[in-house]
């Protein structure tokens, strides 16, 4: 850990002190250094990524070959090239729908996971309150979201609100459970020290409980992020007025199978991007935690 934090990559051209000491050449040094770093990252990325990329290329090639050799009709199963054509023919349709769904998912996530964390912070302080509220939280979790979605559309009408609410409901429970556990999983010896120092409840929460809960919060987010996307798309699909959900309903009605696959590609891309972004933030914030150990 120390090494990775303090050491510069071995491939770097000049050590920092040397670049600084050169004075007028410093800017050039800095530039080539950052260029070298990007190249290093790319190379490192490729080294990690080549096995799944190879699998993807092979799978797509086999799929394409199968469709062509067997002459499978496009409405049944389009070839990868047909899907690519559909995406390329009207990219704004897919990107636009994806952006709307992404917004619904993230909005719902902030609402649901944020609210769950706040409630979790309250519940973590009182076992009685936890017992009082937990059954209702569980009820929200076990009720299939498709049963609630029509109700929400009746209540909130079409538009963005029911999408946010569905995505929020579906992300609520994983965060609640993890927040309560996480906010209680602090080191008792550290807590003794805080108490001897006459720390306020607020100081204990912000300086001790909250950071200690982060590994749990991220575990919850890894579950909640894909769920938020599901919630958003289900709500969009039910009201059929925006986002990838609407795109799916329309493509389905038209027997436009390539567009259906296009929708899947868009959702998969959003899901992968969100998960990747989350992993980056997690690595940054949890570098101290054993789950992010690099050796």
């Amino acid at each position: 850990m120390t090494a990775s934090r303090t050491a510069t990559p071995a491939t770097d051209s000049a050590p920092p002190q040397a670049a600084g000491a050169l004075g007028r050449a410093a800017t050039v040094g800095e530039l080539s250094r950052s260029g070298g770093r990007v190249a290093t990252w790319l190379r490192a990325g490729l080294r990690v990524a080549w096995p799944p990329v190879l699998v993807a290329v092979l799978a797509l090639a086999a799929w394409e070959a199968w469709i062509r050799v067997r002459g499978v009709p496009e409405y049944l199963a389009p070839s990868p090239s047909a899907v690519a054509d559909a995406l390329a023919a009207d990219p704004t349709r897919f990107v636009g729908a994806g952006a709307v769904s992404l917004q619904h998912a993230l909005g719902g996530l902030v609402l649901g996971a944020g609210g769950a964390f706040a409630l979790g912070a309250v519940m973590a302080h009182s076992h009685r309150l936890e017992r009082a509220l937990y059954p209702f939280a569980l009820m929200v979790k076990v009720t299939p979201i498709v049963a609630i979605a029509p109700l929400l559309i009746i209540w909130f009408g079409f538009g963005d609100t029911p999408k946010y609410v569905v995505a929020a409901l579906i992300t609520f429970f994983p965060m609640l459970v993890n927040a309560v556990t996480g906010l209680r999983s602090f080191d008792p010896a550290a807590h003794d020290y805080f108490r001897a120092m006459d720390a306020s409840r607020w100081q204990v929460l912000v300086l001790l409980r909250l950071p200690a809960s982060l590994p749990y919060v991220f575990a919850a987010l890894r579950i909640s992020v894909p769920l938020a996307l599901i919630g958003a798309v289900v709500a969009e699909w039910m009201s059929a007025d925006s986002g990838v959900g609407q795109l799916i309903v329309i493509a389905h009605g038209d027997f436009d199978t390539p567009a259906l696959f296009g929708a899947v590609v868009v959702l998969a891309a959003i899901g992968v991007a969100l998960t990747g972004a989350l992993a980056l933030v997690e690595r940054r914030l949890l570098s101290w935690h054993e789950s992010v150990r690099e050796w």
Binding site: T2, A189, H191, D192, Y193, M197, P211, H289
Partner: protein
């Protein structure tokens, strides 16, 4: 720092005055267990007092009563002439427990700076560095706790406990979880650090030699329910170092404490 072997004149208000303190708690099967039975204990200003007793005799409970985190069922504790809560609010306590209790997401410097933050003032970088220097951990300022050995972590905990200049240092078997080498090293380190400001210390341990090496007085507790069975004044010159452990006077003190423990049935 003083090189004289005599204690400075003791101030009128003792750092800790525990009078007739009793406490009991409920065991897992619902029975009430008397942990402390009329314990009297005092720590003079600047005095280093150890509490020695068998495990589970309520030493930790006594420390919690002194910090005001537990209200005893009988008797009372006063700290610096006032209520324990008031002393706590004034930042009078420094605490080192058996587990270091460091924040794993903060560097060594950040952990020591926490004492300033909790005492309500911003930590000065240079000030933190100086403190780390005193504790001999300055080279590790940017390390994280999990990169350190157990002994090093406990050094950080000690530096953190002393950072805000507490008037009363409470130590609850601070070296109990360490290997013998680290323990030896940290005892001497504690002596050295203590000599700088000479805060009052209440030190809980079940290591007799450790208690004698460090203390001005060793208070011996009986098995549960704990009563004070002996109060042994340690008349060894200060500042002390490891060499004192070889002297006949040291061994004589150790024998007296051990004898008191044996008589108490520990």
């Amino acid at each position: 720092m003083t090189t004289s072997s005599t204690r400075p004149a003791l101030a009128a208000t003792p750092a800790v005055a525990v009078e007739g303190v009793s406490h009991r708690y409920e065991s897992h099967d619902g029975a009430l267990l008397l942990a402390l039975d009329g314990v009297d204990l005092s720590v003079a200003d600047g005095e280093f007092v150890s509490i020695v007793g068998p495990s589970g005799c309520g030493k930790t409970t006594l420390l919690r009563i002194v910090t005001g985190l537990i209200e005893p069922i009988a008797g009372h504790a006063r700290v610096l002439g006032g209520e324990p809560e008031a002393a706590r609010a004034a930042g009078a306590f420094g605490l080192v427990s058996q587990e270091p209790g460091l924040l794993p997401w903060r560097s060594v410097a950040g952990n020591v700076a926490l004492s300033f933050e909790l005492a309500g003032r911003r930590a000065d970088r240079a000030e933190v560095r100086t403190l780390l220097g005193h504790a001999g951990i300055e080279p590790f300022a940017d390390y994280f706790p999990r990169e350190l050995s157990g002994g090093m972590r406990q050094r950080v905990a000690l530096a953190r406990a002393l950072a805000h200049g507490p008037r009363l240092l409470l130590m609850d078997e601070p070296f109990g979880a360490l290997d013998e080498f680290s323990r030896e090293e940290l005892r001497l380190e504690l002596l050295r650090l203590w000599e700088r400001e000479r805060p009052s210390v209440l030190f809980v341990t079940h290591a007799i030699r450790e208690a004698v090496l460090l203390s001005d007085r060793v208070v011996v507790l009986s098995p549960r329910p704990a009563r004070v069975v002996a109060d042994v004044a340690v008349e060894l010159p200060r500042p002390r170092d490891g060499a004192v452990e070889e002297t006949p006077a040291f061994l004589d003190h150790v024998a007296r404490v051990r004898e008191a423990l044996r008589e108490a049935g520990a």
